[in-house]
Every structure is written in structure tokens, then in C-alpha cells.
């Protein structure tokens, strides 16, 4: 995958094995957690460390190359889909995350009253139960976690 090399060059970021591994892992599995990314990268680069994953994710976020999502009470997730201000559905049971586009009608960046804030991002999380968990609940009766 050469687009990552080009992208990193554009941002004057070093082109390292771990960094490329992180980007590939995220392309393959959007909304991954640090643990998940680490597992994938470790498969290719056995000597890698969790700290290197953290470092790279933070650097990539700072440069706007990836985006961080941090749902209440869960570790951060990351994705390479940036710059389109899309939003997320998250399942209260299995914590699965899926993309959903921005409303076409509603201007996300314009709250009813902005109180003088200079708003640059509208982060929207739709909380609910995913189709699969809806089924499970129906079949197994009332069951927690």
C-alpha cells in the first residue's frame, strides 16, 4: 500500500514499519482499539511495543491523518476516514460501532445557540442496540451484559 507512504511524506513524518502497520491495520479494520491494532501490527513486527502504537496513534491524530473516537466508558477507537465529518452508531450491548453519514439537512456545525464558541467539530454518537443484539435479547429473555 503506497498511499500511506505518500501521505506520511506530505506530513513530513518518518516512514517507519510500525507507523505503516498502524495505518494498514486501521484501513483493514476501522474503529479499532489500541489492543486490536497492537495485535495486528505485532503479527508483522514481532518486536513492536504498545507504547509505539500509542505514540503513532497520537501523532497521526495530531496531524489529522486519523480520527479518534472515545465512547463513554470504553477505550479509544481510531479510523482513517477523516475530513468528512461523519458520525457513529454504537451498540450499548456489544459496543460495535458503525458509520453513519452526516444529516444532509441539518448543518452539524451550527448548534441552536453557539454561545460565542468558535465551533470546528460536531461529534455525534447515536446510542442504541444493534440488530444482532436485538435478536439475542429477544431470544434469551432479559439478560444483562
Amino acid at each position: 500500500m503506497n498511499k500511506h507512504r505518500t501521505l506520511l511524506k506530505h506530513h513530513k513524518l518518518s516512514l517507519t514499519a510500525v507507523r505503516l502497520g498502524v495505518l494498514e491495520a486501521l484501513d483493514a479494520q476501522p474503529h479499532s482499539s489500541v489492543e486490536e491494532i497492537f495485535a495486528v501490527v505485532k503479527d508483522k513486527i514481532v518486536t513492536t511495543s504498545k507504547q509505539a502504537i500509542y505514540n503513532n496513534l497520537n501523532t497521526l491524530v495530531k496531524h489529522g491523518i486519523i480520527r479518534e473516537i472515545k465512547p463513554k466508558g470504553e477505550p479509544s477507537r481510531y479510523e482513517t476516514r477523516v475530513g468528512d465529518n461523519h458520525h457513529h452508531l454504537i451498540c450499548r450491548e456489544c459496543h460495535m460501532i458503525v458509520d453513519t453519514d452526516c444529516f444532509s439537512g441539518a448543518p452539524c456545525l451550527e448548534p441552536m445557540d453557539d454561545h460565542g464558541f468558535n465551533v470546528d467539530e460536531a461529534e455525534i454518537l447515536f446510542w442504541g442496540i444493534c440488530p444482532s443484539c436485538q435478536n439475542n435479547t429477544n431470544k434469551e429473555g432479559s439478560k444483562d451484559e
Copy 2:
């Protein structure tokens, strides 16, 4: 404040000093953190513990009596304003949080594509710079954190 006693009774929750203290603290200062609530409650009930604050906040959230907000990279905030699906502006610099009403036009609970999810909450965080921090930045030049 007797409305809190009534409210707790409705939910069959014990009426304890700490619990009432938490609700009063939150009424007085919406979007407070555990630390802030603890400080306020401790002022009245010197023997209280942080764990009691955590316990109570969790219980109150479960019962829908208060609401939890958890912005990326910050401790949770709590508020007694519930049930109106309002949203929040948060300052990237000073982390101040202010309320903003739901769009009137856009139906918050209806994402463009719900992917079969049973959505019950739309959590919207508007990120930006608050008026006060805009001033500081202008006056002090480019300054970080």
C-alpha cells in the same frame, strides 16, 4: 430542597445525606466532575468518601435521575438536566461546558442510516473555542495549553 427527597422516594432510593449532597451540588453547578462534587459535599459532610460519590453518581445515572457526559480525555461530568436531549459545547482550551438546545429542525434521534440500530439517544458534542479563550489567544499570541 425537598424536590430531591420526593424524586428519590419515587425511585425507591434511600434518602441519605451524601446522596442529597450530590444532587444539591449538581443543581448548583451543572457539568461538575467527581472531584468538584466531592469537594462540595465534603464541605457539608466531612466524613464522606470519594467512593460514596462514585456510587451515588452511578446509581443516579442508572435511574435516569442525572446524566453523564464524558468528553474525550477528561473525567466524566454530571448534570441534573435530563430528559430533554439537549447538547453541549465544549472548549478545547479551558474545557468549559455549556448547554445548547437540540436543533428544532433536525430530528436528532434519526441518523441518515440507522443500520438497523434501535437508537435511544443522540449525544452531540460541539468542539471549539469559547469566547474567553478566543480573547486570551488573540492577546497572548500563539500559546499552547
